[in-house]
């Protein structure tokens, strides 16, 4: 559990500077440092529990059903990185206290730093890859805040945006890789993944997984060709650069490379991708560092180069290579952090970072100069410095590989070349800044910085020297712990000594040093050569790319989302045609083996009527009343089709719904234009016509293919249990009220909601009132014809009786609540039409919304009643009773349920139609005849 406190303390620490900002700058810095210091102590206290490649785990259950836990894992590698993150973090806090000017908000920088520290610790301590990824993204976000700290500067905003775009895009790729790893191994737990390296490497998805993970690593660690964001991130305050680009942000990528080393490394693909990318990055970074006049720009490209070196070491895939990589991570963190801090001091004191103007600083700040020079020598890889040791190991490893066959000698040569440039830019850093004449036109006169600003640099430089001189004593145990965690097992033989005798790596180092000096003192020629190339501005190129992407995206969006519903429908239907057509192509023959029914004359005639009706609806669609009449012809034929094929329930329902629909659409037409204007372009008509014919043809083919094939229905269950379990002979009705009663309950709820929605849509509606039909004829004067009124009144009791009959027999014969409800609704609508809404209002005291509510409630309560008997929801009950005179009859709880259905259907239908109808009467304009 101590483990969880390590990332948690800096998280809490993010609040400290905000609370302490009123106490003064020094107090604020000290207060901020307390919690990370505590976390560092906790980290160190865990060391005794570590041994070899074992690890300490801490887990909290989070989503056990998904296999997701909050999981922390602590081993040698995590220890090394935690020390770097917390240790250098503490030094940066101290340094930033003196670096920031009075106008800069200290609390804000410290809070961001603490957040960033938490995210980094989260990465290195995560025991679960998804959790690791979350922290990974948090570093992208918090580094965005840090780089954009001086948000009033446009270069800071641009640099921050570029960094977050590149690393964020890489993060997405990494997520893809992690998800694939999870699929391959069946777990996201690091322990499982590290143990299944062979499985992963043998898997067909290995290349994709590797590329995705590496995209995440390379973008984060600024590897070529994604290196361009790093120099632009130098717009950040120098303490931030010192932190992000030495020990943390860019090392996160290398950390992941090291972390997944046992799972992913060891293949030719790994070597090709990782080590060649690393080699290219190392060369490109070292070369361009030489041409940077900005002090921080030089350090930035040098960082890129060193990151490439470490990447390449991992890519070699040898055990010693991994050890050397870990060693160089430590060394680079120490000397690069101190160099950034020194550069910050020089910037702070001179007011510029241009090396063409900063010269001869030795005279003005000899102490700082000495510190910076030691660190720069370490960067160059000069003996007695830590950089020398790991560079020697690096050179030795390049000699060991044989991946390129007989051309393998290229790699050590290129490595030496990179070493030459590395020495050259380090020399430039020392010579240009501290010697080389007098400063030119500086904004202020430089002098030594405040005492405590130098302390972090002193500590780091001391470490460089100590590691360089007494390597095995100072860093040996830590390196061994971290390396064995990377390798996941036994360590190779290696010796951390300054002197190994005169061997090839030493000669390579010597060549690099002499060559570097030679390059530096002939730099004018090289500058002149480089000047011939147009200067490539990554920022502008990136902005251009982003602008183009945005333009392409908005073009695509406008093309897809142009506000035309017709277009959307065409696209969706086309997609459907492609999908459905594809699977129909796979079908060998359209006709199946099921015996077919014979044709007869009536069927053909009805089919003709149906097709003519449908086509006529289309042809006359602009004259809306005619189209409506044709539509109802189709509806009637459909109900006959149901009757013909043994579905009397459906036929009845369809018939009644047809009536109700027609009334509804007629009413609606009163408020809508009578005619559709001729506005479709011929090309659109052609498009729609061909699309609809394609879809019709496909649907017909699917239908035919289905009809001519046999199948195994699940309906036998319903047929067998309908009588014994549900107490009814009409299986359709028993399914509705019993087997699938819960579905029906949902249906009537939806029906009720739709009706209430319509009720609300009609409230406060402004309408266009036509005074006559499309041809200009005014409405009939006789609103309520006497004949209709008289007949409808006498029909009403009959209709209600029929409805009751249909309802009661529904369980055993065709009928039921749905149909009975619709029949009742039609009977009442007839009264509305014949007598008017006001007349009905005075007589029917039922409020329809309440009726709907009661219906749904009754059905629900019927279902809930079975709980009283200890049965599940909607269990039905039935029994047979004897009544004198009437005879035997059946009572079933399903009847009550069906009554609820009945009430809802009546209420919904009448709520819709009566309200719509009321508007036509109350809003009808007064016609001339009535005047």
């Amino acid at each position: 559990m101590i483990l969880m406190w390590i990332p948690l303390l800096p998280l809490l620490g993010a609040l400290v500077p905000i609370l302490a900002s009123g106490l003064g700058r020094t107090a604020c810095a000290w207060a901020t440092a307390v919690l990370p210091a505590l976390a560092l102590l906790l980290t160190l206290s865990l060391i005794p529990q570590l041994e070899g490649s074992n690890s300490i785990q801490a887990q909290l259950e989070w989503l056990p059903a998904l296999g997701l836990n909050i999981s922390f894992r602590f081993d040698g590698l995590a220890l090394l990185f935690s020390i770097l993150i917390l240790g250098i973090g503490l030094l940066v806090i101290l340094y930033a206290r003196y670096y920031l000017s009075a106008q800069d908000s200290m609390a804000r920088l410290y809070a961001y730093l603490m957040l960033f520290m938490t995210a980094m610790l989260g990465i290195v301590l995560s025991g679960n890859l998804l959790q690791l990824w979350m922290f990974w993204e948090l570093t992208s976000i918090s580094s965005f805040l840090l780089i954009g700290y001086w948000w009033h500067k446009s270069e800071a905003r641009r640099g921050a945006r570029m960094a977050v775009t590149v690393t964020g895009a890489g993060g997405l790729a990494l997520l893809g890789g992690i998800l694939l790893l999870g699929k391959i191994t069946g777990s996201y737990e690091l322990d499982v993944i590290l143990a299944s390296g062979d499985l992963i490497r043998a898997h067909a998805w290995y290349p994709v997984t590797l590329v995705l993970v590496l995209l995440g690593v390379f973008t984060k660690s600024a590897q070529f060709p994604f290196h361009f964001w790093l120099p632009h991130a130098m717009a950040a305050p120098t303490p931030v650069s010192a932190y992000l680009h030495s020990a943390t942000m860019v090392k996160a990528g290398l950390f992941l490379l090291a972390r997944l080393y046992p799972a992913l490394s060891g293949t030719d693909l790994w070597f090709a991708l990782v080590s060649l990318t690393g080699l290219t990055t190392m060369l490109v970074g070292a070369y361009f560092a030489l041409f940077k006049h900005d002090l921080k720009g030089l350090l930035a490209y040098s960082t890129v180069s060193h990151l490439g070196l470490i990447t390449m070491l991992f890519g070699l895939g040898t055990k010693l290579g991994a050890v050397a990589a870990v060693f160089h991570i430590i060394n680079h963190a120490t000397f690069k952090a101190s160099l950034f801090m020194a550069a910050g001091i020089i910037d702070h004191e001179c007011g510029t970072r241009d090396m063409r103007r900063i010269n001869g600083m030795w005279k003005y700040m000899p102490y700082t100069a000495a510190l910076a020079m030691v660190a720069a020598l370490a960067m160059a890889g000069v003996p007695l410095m830590n950089g020398f040791l790991s560079k020697e190991m690096f050179f030795a490893e390049t000699l060991q590989q044989d991946f390129l066959g007989s051309l393998s000698w290229i790699i050590p040569v290129l490595a030496t070349l990179a070493g030459i440039f590395s020495v050259a830019y380090s020399t430039r850093f020392i010579h240009d800044v501290f010697f080389n004449g007098e400063p030119i036109n500086l904004p202020r006169t430089p002098h030594e910085p405040p005492r405590y600003m130098k302390v972090p640099v002193e500590i780091l430089v001391a470490l460089c020297l100590l590691v360089g001189i007494f390597p095995s004593l100072v860093v040996g145990p830590l390196l061994a712990l971290a390396s064995s965690a990377v390798l996941g097992g036994a360590l190779p033989e290696y010796s951390l000594a300054i002197w190994h005798g005169i061997n090839t790596p030493l000669i390579m180092s010597l060549v690099a040093m002499c060559g570097g000096l030679l390059v530096y003192f002939n730099r004018r020629n090289i500058y002149a050569f480089q000047k011939q190339f147009p200067e490539f501005n990554a920022n502008e190129a990136f902005e251009r790319l982003v602008r183009r992407l945005v333009a392409a995206a908005s073009w695509l969006l406008e093309w897809l989302d142009n506000g035309s519903l017709q277009r959307y429908l065409v696209l969706m239907l086309l997609l459907w045609v492609l999908l459905a057509g594809q699977s129909m192509l796979d079908l060998v023959s359209l006709t199946g083996s099921r015996p077919q029914l014979p044709l007869d004359g009536v069927a053909v005639a009805m089919a003709l009527l149906l097709c003519i009706g449908a086509v006529a609806t289309v042809i006359y669609n602009r004259n809306r009343v005619v189209a409506l009449l044709m539509l109802s012809v189709v509806g009637l034929v459909v109900s006959l089709v149901f009757a013909r094929f043994s579905a009397p329930d459906l036929a009845l329902t369809q018939l009644v719904v047809e009536v109700v629909t027609l009334i509804l659409l007629m009413l609606a037409l009163f408020f809508l234009p009578q005619r559709t204007p001729r506005e479709s372009r011929p090309s659109h008509i052609l498009r729609d016509l061909s699309l609809s014919i394609m879809i019709g043809g496909l649907m017909g083919s699917i239908s035919y293919a289905m009809l001519t094939r046999s199948f195994n229905p699940i309906s036998d269950f319903f047929l067998q249990n309908s009588k014994t379990g549900g107490g009814g002979d009409n299986v359709v009705n028993v399914i509705l009220v019993d087997f699938r009663g819960f579905d029906t309950l949902g249906e009537i709820t939806v029906l009720g909601i739709a009706a209430l929605g319509i009720y609300n849509l009609l409230a406060g509606l402004r309408l266009f009132m036509p005074s006559g039909d499309a041809d200009g004829r005014s409405w009939a004067r006789d609103r309520y014809p006497l004949v209709l009124a008289t007949i409808s009144q006498s029909v009403l009791p009959l209709a209600l009786l029929v409805s009751a009959f249909i309802f009661l027999r529904g369980h055993n014969m065709p009928g039921g609540g749905f149909i009975a409800g619709l029949v009742t609704a039609v009977a009442l609508i007839l009264q509305y039409m014949a007598q008017g809404v006001d007349w009905m209002k005075a007589r029917v005291r039922v409020t329809y919304p309440r009726l709907i509510g009661c219906g749904v409630l009754l059905s629900t309560l019927t279902g809930a009643a079975s709980w009283l008997f200890g049965r599940p929801f909607l269990t039905s009950w039935f029994g047979h009773f004897e009544l004198p005179l009437v005879g035997e009859f059946e009572l079933a709880s399903a009847m009550a349920f069906d009554l609820g259905v009945y009430m809802t259907v009546v209420g919904s239908t009448l709520l819709i139609l009566a309200n719509l109808g009321q508007m036509t009467t109350s809003e009808r304009p007064v016609t001339k005849e009535q005047d």
């Binding site: 629909t661 609809s692 509606l765």
Partner: protein
């Protein structure tokens, strides 16, 4: 018979889709209704066509598949509710927006041609 049935489903679907693609609300509602006829017929036929089969138990040994029937029965009722909702929505849209185009605004090309005529 099966082929005839399939042709009917196809014609209903085609007619429904064509009307669905019109630019004014009312033809779209009519198209939706036609399409739901087609869909209901299609769903109903997933129990295969049964000539003179028994609709209720005890009326014969050959039974029609009751499950698609139950599905289609509720589909018809819900289809009515949907048609009603869409048509009222169309009315409301015309009331609030002043036209009955599906996009809520009449495309400029149409306005031009109307002005010319």
């Amino acid at each position: 018979m099966e082929a005839l049935y399939a042709v009917c489903v196809g014609v209903l679907t085609a007619a429904g889709v064509f009307l669905l693609l019109r630019g004014r609300t009312f033809p779209v509602v009519v198209g939706l209704t036609l399409l739901s006829y087609g869909v209901n017929l299609f769903l109903f036929s997933s129990g295969r066509l049964n000539d003179s089969a028994a609709a209720v138990l005890g009326a014969g040994s050959n039974h029609a598949d009751p499950l698609p029937q139950a599905l289609v029965l509720t589909a018809i009722v819900i289809g009515f509710a949907m048609t009603a909702f869409v048509v009222i929505l169309a009315m409301r849209a015309r009331g609030d927006l002043g036209n009955d185009h599906v996009d809520g605004r009449v495309p400029e090309i149409v306005l031009d041609s109307e002005e010319r005529s």
